[in-house]
Symmetry: D2
Subunit: 312 residues, 4 copies
């Protein structure tokens, strides 16, 4: 019987992130053990040229400080497919158009509404930034509709990304690098709302199921697929379900604060995906229970360090 000893973590004031994560691996249990295993698996799939990495992101990952983390992973070739919500794309564009996200405001929600500020937990947006967003996205949609009137959601997002002039933008970087971004629920967002308003007077049709063909091809053409899932929701479901026809993913990592007992997919254990052939028998699956804005930067810093270490 396998039986490993737990080695207590040694922590000092001069540690690299990699050293910290290795100490977590020496312990190997509870959250620390899960975080180590997730980081190790992340490093493996990022470094493996035969594995396509699907990154799904639900929840306020972009406004919540992870915009550059995700952008840099795409720019460095570590993400092959991105799946996210319309909201995250809206917030990416809002910054690309000069807007910002704020913190440190202590007002109740009724006052915030009066002040023209929208709240997401402890982060805030300004309605004037959304006004700029409306103007600018409408311009881009005009440009796009002059060239094409029928697109899939992914094509629409690539067209927008290629027209956005912001090196830090996820949409721009993905377009530049040829990384497809899928957003099956895009219509249910500020971006989706603007699209709908634009289409009241212009010809611009997005085909709801049009991306399935392309995504299936990516799945079939990949030797292996790993899904890295920040939060649950539609992005998690789409990331896993797109792999069902090929028998499921080869590896999966999820970071979530949701719990499993209610049966919602967002908090579901990854093992469950095996029953649906969304994850292969024998696939390597790791769940980290925690806040993605803590766990994911930690994992990315650790995985990048592991890759650097092996390359030396």
């Amino acid at each position: 019987m396998l039986k490993l000893k737990i080695n207590h973590m040694n922590i000092h004031g001069d540690m690299s992130v990699l050293e910290l994560i290795e100490e977590m691996g020496n312990s190997g249990v509870l959250g620390a053990g899960r975080l180590y295993r997730a980081t190790e698996l992340l490093a493996d799939v990022m470094a493996d040229e035969d594995t396509a990495v699907f990154l799904s992101a639900a929840g306020p990952m972009v406004p919540g400080g992870l915009r550059n983390v995700i952008r840099d992973l795409i720019n460095d070739g570590y993400v092959d497919v991105m799946i996210t919500s319309g909201a995250n794309l809206t917030h990416d564009l809002l910054e690309a158009f000069g807007g910002r996200h704020y913190r440190g405001i202590e007002k109740n929600d009724e006052d915030l509404c009066q002040m023209g500020m929208g709240r997401i937990a402890d982060l805030y947006t300004k309605s004037e930034d959304f006004e700029v967003f409306e103007t600018r996205i409408t311009e881009l949609m005009s440009q796009i509709s002059e060239e094409r009137s029928n697109l899939t959601i992914r094509e629409f997002l690539t067209e927008i990304g290629s027209r956005v002039d912001d090196e830090r933008s996820i949409l721009h970087t993905a377009a530049k690098k040829g990384v497809p971004i899928y957003a099956p629920g895009m219509i249910d967002s500020m971006l989706g709302l603007q699209l709908w308003m634009f289409t009241q007077e212009h010809e611009l049709h997005l085909d709801a199921s049009g991306d399935m063909h392309e995504l299936s091809d990516i799945v079939y053409d990949s030797k292996k697929v790993a899904t890295v899932m920040l939060g649950g929701g539609l992005p998690k479901h789409y990331a896993l379900a797109s792999n069902i026809l090929k028998g499921g993913v080869d590896a999966g990592i999820q970071v979530t604060l949701d719990r499993s007992e209610g049966g919602s997919l967002s908090g579901a254990p990854l093992e469950e995906a095996k029953s649906w052939a969304k994850a292969k028998t024998g696939s390597n699956l790791v769940t980290v229970v925690g806040d993605a804005t803590i766990a994911f930067p930690l994992m990315v810093a650790g995985a990048r360090a592991m890759i650097n270490k092996k390359q030396k």
Copy 2:
């Protein structure tokens, strides 16, 4: 200063659900207090002819035992708009076509996959039921496509519902009663997958943003709107966001096990919706923290009893 005394609950073995919930109201604090207030508000909005009730349902509400609860609310005229996931609609149809959901199976997920059973927490589906689903839904789509080739998602769902021969079906009952069902993320489900496969060889186009116009009209035409939200996800967002142009909902009830700190909408406090004008200043908003399969039947039984009591 308002200051109410807590009256301890008195519980005996011959209580009606209404009596139990009234005892919870006498206490008025913690979960019991929230459940009472949610039930009272639910009764109010169900009984109020000037309030349109939007019911959103994410998570496995239909396979998880609430199919009849939701169907009966629609049939009795208590729900005016339903917003849900493609998955819940798939499971509704799976039963309409003769399939069932199962429990009491103790197998690991790899074995379940071999046996052709998919798992959602502690409930199970059979792959042969999904095969019947595929055959039958394809037949229905053929019928629909012969009549129309361009539909919104809502129209598509109404067309299916009107063709389904099952009095217990949510889709069927909603079609019969003229209650619109919206499913903005429908494409990301087994139903969405079948639709996509069908459209590879047939003409059947669903317009992704086509429902916005109709839904806006409903919002504008309603004196008041109340959203009742089981779980979060896209259904919660869509239910709230559709009310933004009119300054937000007048009342909101949510039942969720998700927590708020990560910033995801699913666990967000309803107060936050006020900052976005998704809920009106002064609107009545109640959150119940708990499993919807416990809390919602309790609330519905209680609200129905309250309504009956007032009518006498």
Copy 3:
């Protein structure tokens, strides 16, 4: 292979609690299924004369509206041993001495402190009630110390209970009925603080481990033991650990909102207790994930109804 069909719940406005819970049992999955199984098991152990029922209560169960529920279970002979926190006993006494708990106050915590009100979530206490508590408990301790100067914690609590003049008091009712109350962490509470202050000038020694002998005897003398655990903490641990010498409990029910991944006992699955011989191999163990102020009244009403039904 066992495989049961899920029957969807039917909910109407004229249901008894028992009918509602039976509908949850017909569904049998997710929270509803767990609640039904917990209720059924609770009814079984309450009705079984060979089973000693240990009720543990952590968290603000007494101030939070369950004082009468617990008191009545003791009074009706359904609880054989109670294990709780010093806080719950303090709040029981605070009411026995004429104090009350409050709700409906909207002030921030700094203002509450100025006003002399202590907050527990959305329930409130008045410092003047604690002043009465101090005077009265000191009187009782004087009476007790005149008779005995060395007691176990359980003996101390029985002495207090027998001197309290309140039929609704848990301590009083337990003393009257001969039901022992254990509170291993009692010293860490307002009651414990008063005890310590009293002992600065009086002879009144409580033996920290003195209750172990008596509790062991109860365990040995019981044919079977069932633990019903509201919340975790020391009460849960003590309830389970006291059964270790006899190979563990025969049945266990817990109601908790805590989760398991951090490893704390409070959120630990009851199965884990089997590894420590705190629960017997083959014991019947049910966890309900939820707020005890909702789930426990529901379970008690249901279990009492089940018992009544069988007795007819």
Copy 4:
């Protein structure tokens, strides 16, 4: 109005823990923001000679990999008072006597019981290590009882710690450094059980409330007090309540996965402590929602680095 911009985190593969945490501070929102503020506050109170740092630890912190982290904080003079459960002290001694904790075992709980292994989430203990523990702790109690027969719990723990021959032991290091360890619920643990069995035939009396005087003196003699709380339970309550007579703590940090809605202290927001004068008006209070085995090593490494940086 204060309004700060959110700066997205920049993550690379060659970061120190300090750099990572500073990036989290640049973002400043959600979990990352909380973790940064907790780390900054931890560094402040650790470095401040006028602040007494109370560390409370509930849950399996010692067996779960944090034994050295806590021991080193005590050894380096960063912790002035420790408050924990009997379980954590038992596991510290189990290792001091040569035992270990294990991981990587895949057995169900009934099999584990047969094999003589106890489970805490994904970590395991051997019953033979507990047998050694029993023998050795009994020897130590014999030595102690020959010298003194009446002790407070703290004195008992110091006596044990000074007799344990293990530089890595928390009890040993605390005894060596003169750091008091309080364990108000100690009796409810394996250590408490052994004590009780020993006292059946030997004179060794622990005074349940005997530590209050000493702890009060520490509170009164400290210019400022900061509590650092890993998990909730009795240790959290005792850490905060001991400060009530002086108007509350000056600073508080808690790391927990428990939620607040049920009203249990373990998940309670620290603000609530202000209403009870357990935290001062204006005190600096930070909660990190997450697994302590991830968050605490991260915070300690960061705080140590911040202190080192300032000292240069």
